[in-house]
Symmetry: C2
Subunit: 308 residues, 2 copies
Amino acid sequence: MNFQQLRIVRETVLRGFNLTEVANALFTSQPGVSKHIKDLEDELGVELFVRRGKRLLGLTEPGKELLETVDRILRDAQNLRSIADQFASREQGSLTVATTHTQARYALPNVIKDFKSRYPQVHLALHQSSPREIAEMLVAGEADIGIATEGLTSVPELITVPCYSWHHAVIVPLGHPLAKLPELSLQAIAEYPIVTYHEGFTGRAHIDAAFADAGLNVDVVISAIDADVIKTYVDVGLGIGIVASMAFNPAKDTELVRLGADKLFPANTTLLAVRRGVYLRDYARHFIDAVAPGSDETLARESQATDA
Amino acid sequence: MNFQQLRIVRETVLRGFNLTEVANALFTSQPGVSKHIKDLEDELGVELFVRRGKRLLGLTEPGKELLETVDRILRDAQNLRSIADQFASREQGSLTVATTHTQARYALPNVIKDFKSRYPQVHLALHQSSPREIAEMLVAGEADIGIATEGLTSVPELITVPCYSWHHAVIVPLGHPLAKLPELSLQAIAEYPIVTYHEGFTGRAHIDAAFADAGLNVDVVISAIDADVIKTYVDVGLGIGIVASMAFNPAKDTELVRLGADKLFPANTTLLAVRRGVYLRDYARHFIDAVAPGSDETLARESQATDA
DNA sequence: TATCCTTACGGAATTCGTAAGCATG
DNA sequence: CATGCTTACGAATTCCGTAAGGATA
């Protein structure tokens, strides 16, 4: 048994059981891949893959069982390298953060600025993606840290910690009738066409839930991924906007008015996630601590459980 | 990085940093061991071992950090083999149970008899040891299952589940004055010299605690490892015995009388332990279920945490 | 001086890549 | 007949063991 064999097994599953692709992905020859699989199967005494003739179709039962452990071994091997790097050069390396528009644009700039000056040697990469893609990147090991409000808690491979809570706000053009009301209500909002986030983004589920609970039907005329798009369409008069309140900048959004809606929609909690069982370097922990203070012990405790 | 290098690192720590011994233990040459360590250190870019001149003295800080992960990788590699064996031949293999005299003699015979007839192909080995040795065997991977009343909960590498509860009983020779009392008391017992278990065995701590709580000093004239020795000395009149109540067999111990002492000494709970993170084969799970019914979900849940 | 580690080197074993052959859709 | 896997074989690499040399208690 050797690491190359295990890498090949993992890659074979990842690439849909096409050994030619596996060989390319691992920069080796296809016959070599074939032989490694055969050797490992011989050594373990069980077939890992279901075959029809010469084609591989999927994992056998033992293959499925074994895969989890294979994954963990390879992840741990990577952890060894990370730990060593950590000691070899504590302040050098790279950190990939995957996050959504909202966080990247409104919550993270300060953190990132501080981090850059504290760790000038660390190559920090910020990937803007959808919550689903963020989760996928974390699981695949393509990102170290994920930050989003949605879609992270349902993935068992991830550990999440809360960063901060925030509310939605309603934004309307200057002089809009809603701005003149003594107190905003869901009923009043529901009278107007609404411009807000797409499903699965930035607390949209909470918005829908609030209206549904109140028995109101709303007309969402535009569902966007980010607040900049929303603000643009509110500005041109397509409807009123519901955005994360930190997306409104009084100094810049001079054509719009923000109306607080803390009591109308439930609070949202932005989460930070890392993959279970991956080693976090010092600077990654510091980044996390800057975004989600006091989460260290949670991560230390839970990351023990390295299984998916 | 390869498995042999990791094995060598682990063995080096285990053998007290003597590479010659390591080479012997792994059936290879000492220069090969030396080179493997050097190669791994070069690849990782950190020194794993503290050296004075050419001698190895211990682990460096990075070495300590890395060791945990190295251990887990090697344990997982072993798990791969176990899982494969499991599928290759579900009802064949071996199972090593480490336990104390009391359990081996009085609690386990029926379980073992059933197991043997259910899994004739499994080579079952029973190791009688002290609680401390049982824990060591489990941690070192020399035993699959440990069963004892003491000394298992304090080892973080082990997961324990309760098997059953029992009480101590007092045993006296036929016609002994204690047997004539309407009700037994600690005060009455303390009048006589006592023959019981050694410290760290079979609930001795509970016995001491009961007397201490009652403010009584007792004269333990013999402290033995097992009840057979205790019964022998009670029989020859050296004192009265305090043993696990299941160690008294009315049919065979005809020269002795058992006096219930359920209310005098706190109950004892015999525990079953396995090492965290090791894969348990079907028949091992069945054995555990026979000894500690309903413990399956505890094991399944906790064995996720593979770290020490 | 005995123990223990490192370096050096030749041979064995493993791994790898190319080429050719066969099965599948 | 194009894609995909296996077998075969020579080359390259890695791994291992012996021998020799240097350091430490």
